[in-house]
Amino acid sequence: MKVQTRKVGASLVVRLSGELDLATAEIFRRTVDAQLAKDGCSNLILVLKNVTFIDSSGIGAILGRYRLIRERQGRVIATGLRPAVRRVLEMSGVLRVVETAETEQQALESL
C-alpha cells in the first residue's frame, strides 16, 4: 500500500495504491490523520483508481476519516472506483455518506 498526499486549497488529496486491508489500513489512517492535523484541510479527496482490493478494515478506515471531516463541516469524495471496490463501498453504506467522482480533477472542481 502506497499513500501519497497533497494539499489543494482547503482539500487534502490522498492517492492510494495497492490493497486496503487489516495490514495496510493503519498506514492510510496514520498518514491522513497526521496531514489533517497539520494542514487543517476541511475536505478529503480519496483517489482510489489504483486500489485493487478493499475489505471491512479499509471501510472502517475510510468511515473513520469521514467522521473527522464531518466534524469540520467538510466533504469526502472518492474517485476512480474499480467495480469490485465500488461494490464493497456500496454494500457497506459508505456511498450513502461519501460522494463519488470519476477523476481527481472532477472532484476538485465540484468543491
Binding site: E19, D21, D55, S56, I59, G60, M91, S92
Partner: protein
C-alpha cells in the same frame, strides 16, 4: 456416501495482519482451478480476508498463535474453513450483526461473508477457539 473433494489444501500461518493478504491470494489461486467468474473470485477474496482478519484480531496474541486455513474443491462448490485458538465467540448471533463491534471494522466482517458466500457456519464456544466454514457454490454454466 459422502462426496470426495477433487482437490484440497491446508495451510497454517502465524496470526499476523500481513498474512491476511497471503491467505486470500492463496485461496483465489486455488479456486481458479474451477470455473468461477472474476467477480466470484473477488467475492471469495473478500470473504477469506474477513474470516482471517477476524481470526488475527480475536485469536490468541502470543508468538505461537496460528491461523489454520483449509479449502476443498468439489465439482459444484468450494468449501473454505478458517480456524483459530482464540477465546471463542460468546454470542454468535450478535457477532453476525452489523455494528456488533466498537472496533474499526464496524462489525461488517460476517455481513460481507454472508453477502458474498452461499453458506456460512460458525462453530465457537468460549475458550475453544472459532471455526468459520464458508461455501461458494459453482453454478453450472450452460453453453449455447
Amino acid at each position: 456416501m459422502e462426496k470426495q473433494p477433487r482437490n484440497s489444501m491446508r495451510l497454517e500461518f502465524r496470526s499476523l495482519p500481513a498474512n491476511v493478504s497471503f491467505a486470500r491470494t492463496t485461496v483465489a489461486i486455488f479456486a481458479s482451478q474451477m470455473d468461477f467468474t472474476v467477480d466470484q473470485i473477488d467475492e471469495i477474496k473478500v470473504a477469506v480476508s474477513e474470516a482471517v482478519s477476524n481470526a488475527v484480531i480475536h485469536g490468541k496474541k502470543d508468538e505461537s498463535s496460528v491461523v489454520r486455513l483449509e479449502a476443498q474443491l468439489y465439482d459444484d462448490a468450494l468449501v473454505i474453513t478458517v480456524s483459530d485458538d482464540g477465546p471463542g465467540i460468546q454470542d454468535i448471533s450478535w457477532a453476525m450483526e452489523p455494528g456488533s463491534t466498537t472496533a474499526d471494522r464496524m462489525g461488517l466482517g460476517f455481513v460481507f461473508i454472508k453477502e458474498y458466500m452461499d453458506e456460512l457456519k460458525i462453530d465457537s464456544s468460549p475458550g475453544a477457539g472459532t471455526r468459520v466454514t464458508m461455501i461458494k457454490n459453482l453454478a453450472l454454466r450452460v453453453e449455447h
